[in-house]
Each structure stands twice: as C-alpha cells, then as structure tokens.
C-alpha cells in the first residue's frame, strides 16, 4: 500500500479560545520511526491525543492507514483504535492487575483466543521488553522504568502495525533508555512497525528517529520537518538548531520554548 501510515491534514487544536496548534500537516510513511519534538507547552501531547482519537481537533483531519480517526464512529472507530498500540508517558497500567494481566488485557478483551494462547502471547511481549521476571508483580511494586516497559508490552499485545509512544524514555536511566531505543529500532526494522514518538529526549531522537517534526509554542505549529541529524546542522530556523543542540548558541529574548 502506498498510503501513509499516519496522515495529519491541517490540524488545529484549541482549548476554549486559546489556540495551541494551527494548520499542522505531515505524513508518516509506513515503517518509519517518526518523532514529534518540541518543548513543554508546544502542543506535542495535544497532537498525540488527537492522533490516538482521545481528542477531536478543532479543524482538520487525521488519517490512520487511510481512514479518518476524527470522523470514525462505532465499529469503524473501534477497528481503527485496535489497529495501533499506544504507550502512555506514565504507563497507565491498571493498578489492580499484575504486569502480565496488564499485558494480556487487550488479548483478553479483544480476542477469542483460548487462555493459554493469550498467556503465551502476552509473555512473549514481556520477554521482548525484558520483563519476564516481573510478570506477576503489581505496577506499584516495580520501578518507573519497568512500568514504562510494561506499558510498551501492552501496546504491543495485539502486534499492531502502528505504535504511538509518549515520552518512552523520559525518566529512565541511560542504559535502560538505550535498551528501549534499541528495542524500538528493532521493532521497526524487523517487524516493520511504524512508530510515532513524542519526546524531548534528544539522545533517543538522534539514536532512533528517521524523521521528525519540531513544534514550537510561539509558532503554534511546525517550525521544521526532516531528519533530526540534518536539522541539527542546517535547519533554517536558529531556534530549531538550538533546540536540537540542547540550547547551545541560542540566548536571545524569548529563546525558551514558551
């Protein structure tokens, strides 16, 4: 199929009268690891909530595999929701279920596989993120990094072709973060999973992201699109170069991300 895995068309997002994003447009080709970058308050999370159907944009359309998540209703919406996996920043694991039960949840609720098969499939995903040993523990009993990896395992439960990750490596130690980066890279390389990552962890960005859009609060939208390694050197906007170089060389007034 030639159509993009994700196609964002002139999306605007506003809260009441305050406009957060205006006229945002980009395509994510299949198999790519795509980054949505930007500082705090730039609308990254709002955009992501629109992409996964938790929020309706105030204007524009979002297509997942060619079908609009914005306008889908009923069964079509359910089909779209089940076509991707999403890992939230804080994990969002169900607190009264074990790690294994959390990873198995989509299989339990959405498939009619026998219990042994659901268990095996969930354990396979836990092994993928290196959590086999923690399968029977509750989310409150494991570390923040493990919660994030468990959330990734749950997002992968149905082996989706499209993955949305909100700050997957934020708050992890460098080694765990690097392992997670390697895992994401492998998923996209071996399984062809399209991955959309919202992040401001630049180490991860340069390690795994093929292409990215950079959002800025003042612009209410995209200020740069492209390979972050190139943008870092040659983006036309000084702010973007500075953002990708950890603020080096940019000290003008209003230089923050707002």
């Amino acid at each position: 199929m030639s159509e993009a895995a994700v196609s964002v068309r002139d999306v605007s997002v506003s809260y009441g009268e305050s406009v957060v994003l205006s006229g945002v447009a980009f395509d994510v080709p299949r198999g790519e690891v795509f980054g949505i970058l930007g500082g705090s308050g730039s609308g990254k999370t709002s955009l992501l909530r629109c992409l996964v159907g938790l929020r309706k944009p105030s204007a524009g359309d979002i297509l997942l595999g060619g079908a609009s998540i914005v306008h889908a209703e009923g069964d079509e919406r359910l089909r779209l929701l089940r076509s991707f996996g999403m890992a939230f920043q804080g994990g969002a694991l169900l607190g009264n279920r074990t790690v294994l039960e959390n990873a198995r949840l989509p299989l339990d609720e959405l498939t009619d596989l026998p219990s042994e098969a659901r268990d095996a499939a969930a354990r396979e995903k836990l092994a993928l993120v290196g959590l086999t040993h923690a399968a029977d523990r509750l989310p409150s009993e494991i570390s923040g990094g493990m919660v994030k990896r468990a959330a990734l395992a749950r997002a992968l439960a149905l082996t989706p072709g499209l993955l949305f990750l909100d700050e997957p490596s934020a708050g992890l130690d460098p080694i765990t973060a690097a392992e997670l980066d390697a895992l994401i890279r492998r998923l996209s390389g071996e399984l062809g999973v399209t991955t959309v990552i919202v992040t401001h962890e630049l180490a991860s960005v340069f390690a795994i992201v093929d292409r990215a859009v950079v959002l800025r609060a003042e612009a209410k939208g995209i200020v740069a699109t492209g390979d972050p390694r190139e943008l870092r050197r040659s983006a036309s906007s000084e702010w973007v170069r500075s953002f990708l170089n950890r603020g080096a060389g940019f000290a003008g007034p209003g230089g923050g991300d707002g």
Binding site: R77, L81, E109
Partner: protein, 377 residues
C-alpha cells in the same frame, strides 16, 4: 528625629528615619540594604513613622541594595502613604516605575469580568442540565453493558464482581448493623414514650417494624453504602482517570463502562439489599429489646410485630434497597469517570459521589412513597 534601625545580614544596617527638611516638609530617609531579610521590619517602622506624616518625601540615597521586596516597600510607601518618590536615585526610580507597571499589568490580567446574578443562574442551570444529560447517557451505557453481559456470561467478570461485592457488603456489616440497631433503639424509646401516654406502648412493635423495614432500614443502609462504597468507586475510577488508565483503555477500543462500571454497579446492587436485610433485622431487634426492657415478654412484642409486618412491607423495603444500591454505585462510578485532572480531582469526585448518592436515595425514596401511596400498597 525618630530613628529605627536593624542590622542587615551583611553587617550593614538598614535604617528608617523620619526627619524634616526646611523647604520640603517631612522626609523619610531609608538607608542600607532593602531586601527580604530587612523589609519586614522596615515596613512596620515606616508604617508607624508615616502614620503621622503623610505625603513625606522619600530619600533613598543611602539604600545600598534593593530586591523585589524592597521595591514592594517603596511602592507601598508611595501608594498607601502618599510618599513622594521624586528624591529617589534615577536607577531606583526607574525600577520602581517598572515594578508598578508590572504589578498593574498583573492585576489587569487577573481581573475577570464578573458574572451577573442572571448569568450565574443561567450557567448553573446549564451545568445542571448537562449533568442530568450525562447521567441519562451513563444510565443508557450501563443498561447496554448489562444487556451485553446477559447475552455473554464472560462479561460478568464474576471474580472481580464478587471481590467488589465483598468489599461493599461483607465489610460493611459492622457499621450497618450498629447504625440500624441504634436507630431502632432511638425510635423505640421515643415512640414508646409517646405511645405510653395513650396506654398503647405495645404498638411500638408495629412502628418499629414498619419504619425500619420499609423506610429507615433501606435508607440508612443506602447512605452507609454511599459513604463507603460510592465514594470508593469514585476514588478508584477518579484515580484511573487521573493516571490516564481510562484513556489507555479508550485507545485500546475498550469502553470503561462494561469493563469498570458494570462490575461495581452489579456488586453494589447485589450487596445493598442484603445489607439492608441485615440492617432491618438489627433495627427490629433493637425495638424488641426496648420492649422487653419495658416489661413486654417477647411472645407479646414478637406476636405484635409479626401481625403488623406484612410481606408487602418487606418486599417494598428490599425493592427500595435494590434501587438505592444501583443508584449509589452507578453515580459513584459516574463521578469517578467525570473526575478532572490534578491532585484535588479524586477527592472532589469522592465528595460529589457521596452527595449525589444521598440526594438520589432520598429522591428515589420520595418517588417510592408517591407510587406506593397511589397504588395503595
């Protein structure tokens, strides 16, 4: 000359003095550092000194340093005491004028147009209407989930529901028993006192039977369930909302109502009537205890009770508590799902759940009263 002083942190002394110049009248002289460490004292001193000398000129040439707190003091002297800032050194005067501009800008941006009474009334009515609409939509979703569960037994989530029913029911036995027992005792004592004047004390058994079984037993039990379980449901679902767990379920294409709400509503609806039966028993036995204390043998009081209590009263009492249990647990879940974001959201959701639960119970009881009166049962 009045002089007030205090040693600053750096060894320099901050002084506030009121003097007078021959051609300019009173002069307030500030000297030394004006910062967070010294301003509190200087503020009090200046207030006292200027109380008797409004419109004094300010002399701040001796001020060695001045932070935001110091600027706030100078601003206060100018606006509150009418002190004249024309004697300030240029850099300080400049900073003071910027400070005042920023303060006024902040005050302007904080100011919101005040809503009139009519606007407030309209907004309140609209909010109430929206809430009612949400409750109706929620009820519909619960009924639909119930319908789906009737067709597919797996959706009952039996083990989860049993656990919730245990928490809502078995663990509440103590408090429900105690409250209904004491309530029965109170009614029996007060009622017995009044009825004794007419020589009709034996009818306490009638009163206690009908009141506890038909009215107060179900109501008090439902109020306890609202306080214990309605609030717990709201807090649990509110926490899940705050932690994005509900969002996570939605992105998986899982609706929160069948997954989270149905087990709780079923548990509440099953546990409440059982608790109410237990509460009725406690209340009635309290009545019988009071009667035996007043000298009625159990055969007399018990016989009277069985005669007065028809099966109809019991059926109505149990039917009520089924409805109360469903209402209290459903509104608890709804308030939890409606929780906003932020640290106070969960507490607020629990509070709203208890309030709405109790209101709904009383309203439903009134509806029952009207319906049973019209039907003559």
């Amino acid at each position: 000359m009045t002089r007030e002083g205090r040693g600053g942190g750096s060894g320099e002394e901050t002084t506030v003095e009121l003097g007078s110049a021959p051609d300019a009248g009173p002069v307030l002289t500030l000297a030394g550092p004006l910062d967070m460490a010294t301003v509190a004292r200087a503020w009090r001193d200046a207030d006292r000194l200027l109380g008797s000398a409004p419109g004094a000129a300010l002399d701040a040439r001796g001020v060695t340093s001045c932070d935001a707190a110091g600027l706030a003091l100078l601003d206060h002297l100018v606006t509150r005491h009418g002190a004249r800032p024309d004697g300030l050194p240029a850099p300080l005067a400049d900073r003071l004028s910027r400070f005042r501009d920023e303060r006024e800008a902040a005050a302007r941006s904080r100011r919101r147009p005040e809503a009139s009474f009519v606007e407030g009334l309209g907004a309140g009515a609209r909010g109430f209407g929206r809430d009612v609409a949400e409750q109706v939509a929620f009820l519909g979703a619960v009924v639909r989930a119930l319908g789906a569960a009737l067709r597919s037994p797996r959706l009952w989530r039996a083990s989860e529901t049993l656990g919730l029913a245990h928490r809502a029911g078995v663990e509440a036995l103590g408090i429900v028993g105690l409250i209904n027992f004491l309530l029965g005792l109170i009614i029996a004592f007060v009622g017995g006192d009044i009825l004794a004047r007419f020589g009709a004390q034996v009818f306490v058994a009638d009163a206690i039977g009908i009141v506890m079984v038909r009215e107060l037993g179900p109501i008090m039990t439902a109020i306890v369930v609202a306080g214990r379980s309605g609030s717990a449901f709201a807090a649990e679902l509110g926490t899940m909302r705050v932690n994005e767990e509900v969002d996570a379920l939605e992105t998986m294409g899982l609706a929160p109502v069948p997954l989270l709400v149905l087990p709780r509503v079923v548990a509440g609806t099953v546990a409440t009537p059982l608790l109410a039966l237990y509460g009725m028993l406690a209340g009635v036995s309290a009545g019988l205890l009071q009667m035996s204390l007043s000298g009625f043998p159990l055969a007399v009081s018990g016989g009277r009770l069985l005669e007065a209590m028809t099966i109809g009263h019991l059926v109505i009492g149990v039917a009520k508590s089924v409805v109360f249990g469903a209402l209290v647990s459903a509104v608890g879940c709804l308030r939890g799902l409606q929780a906003g974001r932020g640290p106070s959201a969960v507490g607020l959701a629990a509070t709203r759940a208890v309030v709405a639960g109790i209101v709904l119970v009383i309203v439903a009881d009134a509806v029952f009263a009207v319906v049973t009166t019209v039907l003559g049962v």
